[in-house]
């Protein structure tokens, strides 16, 4: 990994739950993100993968402080975001952008494409005259493969893939260094997904962007990312290089997730060893004691229900939160 642009440590996002009583009492927290630590190197893509409810999107939003974290720190290019006041944070937003999952909901239906892409320029006063802004909007539209002539059209006239391109153009308007892509292809058809992924790759090469790529589709994440963090129930359970994660997954959850991803090749799909997990993801309102995966884990052993495993480095650039890989306990695992 290159020099880190973003360092996230022990990030927590809790959503308070109130009782139903007359005077609502704070009774519990949904620990949507519960102690997440990772770094993203400059020019790198970190994939954040997990099933619904694992906290991957919340992590992405908390990193940008679009949701206030409950605890932990996010350091962006040497600046601790939690120390910034509203104004400074707004200024810093120039350098960080977000691309959304739903290309239909993320564009204001009452604004033209030109106004949508031009809005960040207006907010940060990046262009002086109207003509400047129009020129820049045209450039941005071309950059994402749309004709500048479309600037007076409205979102409803575009297809999902085209709207996603508009969203990307908007994100690029302020020339950010860092973009969180929150499931940018999940809402698109297969034949359109590839185009968006290729576009994002090209833009990264050309503009030197740093990405966090959030997705539930492990194949897409694996294709797109340099390193991958796997999340389960608000925690990162494993972080590794894309190849290492695929070839030698260390966490049983990662292994199960990999084996559940259907491979579009019948010869492979029908012969490979698959791990089918039992049951469902537990409620984040009431996570199990110890390792939150232990109830479903095919390899759970004595310490798992009691001790919460910490994320530790087991190999170079490969971190895992599992007792199986704890040298102090590995004997007890008994294989």
């Amino acid at each position: 990994m290159s020099e880190p642009l973003l360092e996230v440590s022990d990030l927590q996002v809790y959503f308070p739950v109130y009782g139903k009583g007359l005077v609502p009492r704070h009774i519990n927290d949904v620990k949507a993100v519960d102690g997440v630590t990772f770094q993203v190197g400059r020019g790198e893509t970190l994939g954040l993968v997990g099933e619904s409810g694992c906290g991957k999107t919340t992590t992405g939003l908390a990193v940008l402080r679009l949701i206030e974290p409950t605890g932990g720190s996010v350091v962006f290019d040497g600046v601790d975001l939690s120390t910034l006041d509203k104004r400074d944070l707004r200024l810093l937003r120039k350098r960080m952008a977000l691309i959304f999952q739903d290309p239909y909901a993320s564009l204001d239906p009452r604004m033209s494409i030109g106004a949508i892409v031009g809005e960040p320029l207006e907010i940060h006063r990046l262009t002086q005259t109207r003509a400047d802004r129009d020129d820049r909007v045209g450039e941005l539209l071309e950059l994402v493969g749309l004709s500048p002539d479309y600037r007076n059209r409205y979102p409803h006239e575009f297809s999902g893939g085209q709207r996603q391109r508009v969203g990307i153009a908007r994100a690029l308007a302020t020339e950010p260094d860092f973009i969180v892509c929150d499931e940018p292809i999940a809402a698109l058809d297969v034949s359109i997904q590839a185009g968006i992924m290729n576009l994002l790759e090209d833009l990264q090469d050309e503009l030197g962007l740093t990405y966090i790529f959030i997705a539930h589709d492990l194949s897409a994440v694996q294709h797109f990312s340099d390193r991958i963090a796997v999340m389960y129930l608000g925690r990162v359970v494993e972080v590794a290089d894309r190849v290492a994660l695929y070839e030698t997954p260390q966490h049983p959850y990662t292994a199960a997730l990999l084996s559940a991803v259907p491979v579009p090749n019948p010869a492979v799909q029908r012969t490979r060893q698959r791990i089918i997990l039992e049951g469902d993801v537990p409620s984040p309102l009431n996570p199990p004691s110890g390792c939150s995966f232990h109830q479903r884990c095919p390899k759970a052993f004595e310490p798992c229900p009691h001790v919460d495993p910490a994320l530790r480095t087991t190999k170079r650039d490969h971190d895992v939160a599992c007792h199986l890989h704890d040298p102090a306990l590995s004997g007890a695992a008994g294989a």
Binding site: S191, A256, P262
Partner: protein
């Protein structure tokens, strides 16, 4: 080979819309044999879901207009009376849907919804329907079925709800189970549970399955035969191994190329299919895929609709210039 259970011939579905007539399904034909799993794959708007809703006669007519024939054990369902059709639904043809949350009635218990078709089609009494409902819940892998039977859908997880839907579908031993994107709304690990469950139940019970999906990965795991649908027409039909090993249609080939494959090696670039799917209100005159196809030519593809050439044995392709790949 034995006679097919279900034969669909030249099925067409049109919808009257404000903008004009939408031609959503444009003449599709296929046979389904006992115990087999047929997968119909397509992107949104390809007409795959509408085609099965039409054969179940679950589309409101109007705005839909359905033509062609759907022969179940030789009897044309499109000509059956509403009453006869009701006795077929849930009994001979069962269907499960994409979103198990909205597909279950929120104010009725699991047991109520499960027993309903059994008392209707099998004439079971309340007691025996309940006993069988508990058995069914157990069969689809729901823990403590005697408790779950009295719960409401909102008390179950997404995966559990889909299991309930499957139990409902299987309750009257149907000949055909139609599954319309049953795992799309679920997470991958749950998806794996559900696909395995259906495959296992099919082995045990022996019903035929039509599995509608957009996910070529899921298809690779479950289907015996695959049909690729685009713009309301069938593009290609083949056994699952043939199709993936040797896609003959440029669209199938493009779809497979656009998928990121899990693995250590990755291609420099994914294949993209330029352009957009056709507008059902303004279908192109020739091949629906021609406007996006790199191999299309103005003289044939944009004028003449390609059809399946029956002489290509078990691998059918609707293309004037099929790719010359062989398995």
């Amino acid at each position: 080979m034995s006679d097919p259970i279900l034969s669909v011939r030249d099925l067409r579905v049109r919808f009257g819309t404000k903008r004009g007539v939408a031609e959503v399904v444009n003449g599709i034909s296929y046979d389904l044999h006992a115990g087999e799993t047929l997968s119909i794959v397509g992107e949104s708007g390809s007409g795959k879901s509408v085609s099965v809703l039409a054969l179940m006669r679950l589309l409101a007519e109007p705005p839909a207009a359905i033509a062609g024939s759907v022969l179940l054990h030789g009897r044309d369902l499109l000509k059956a009376s509403h009453r006869d059709m009701r006795s077929v639904r849930g009994k001979d043809l069962a269907m499960i849907f994409q979103d198990p949350m909205t597909s279950l009635n929120p104010v009725r218990t699991v047991g109520y919804q499960l027993s309903e078709s059994m008392s209707l089609h099998l004439g079971l009494t309340a007691d025996s329907a309940r006993r069988r409902a508990i058995e069914l819940l157990d069969m689809v892998g729901i823990p403590s079925p005697d408790v779950r039977i009295d719960e409401y859908p909102h008390q179950l997880s997404g995966g559990m709800r889909q299991r309930v839907m499957i139990a409902m579908g299987l309750s009257c031993d149907p000949d055909v189970l139609i599954a319309d994107e049953p795992t799309t709304a679920l997470d991958v690990t749950t998806q794996a549970q559900i696909t395995d469950l259906v495959a296992e139940l099919q082995q045990r019970i022996g019903m035929a399955v039509i599995w509608i999906t957009h996910d070529l990965g899921v298809v690779a795991g479950i289907a015996d035969r695959v049909i690729v649908m685009y713009g309301g027409r069938f593009m290609e039909e083949a056994g699952v191994n043939d199709l993936y090993a040797a896609p003959n249609h440029p669209y199938t080939d493009g779809l497979l190329g656009s998928l990121p494959m899990p693995g250590a090696d990755r291609p420099e670039k994914l294949v993209t299919i330029p352009g957009l799917p056709p507008d059902p209100v303004a279908m192109p005159p020739g091949c629906p895929f021609a406007p996006r196809c790199v191999h299309s030519d103005a003289s044939r593809c944009h004028i003449e609709v390609p059809v399946f050439e029956p002489d290509r044995a078990r691998h059918l392709v609707a293309c004037h210039y099929p790719l010359q790949v062989t398995a």
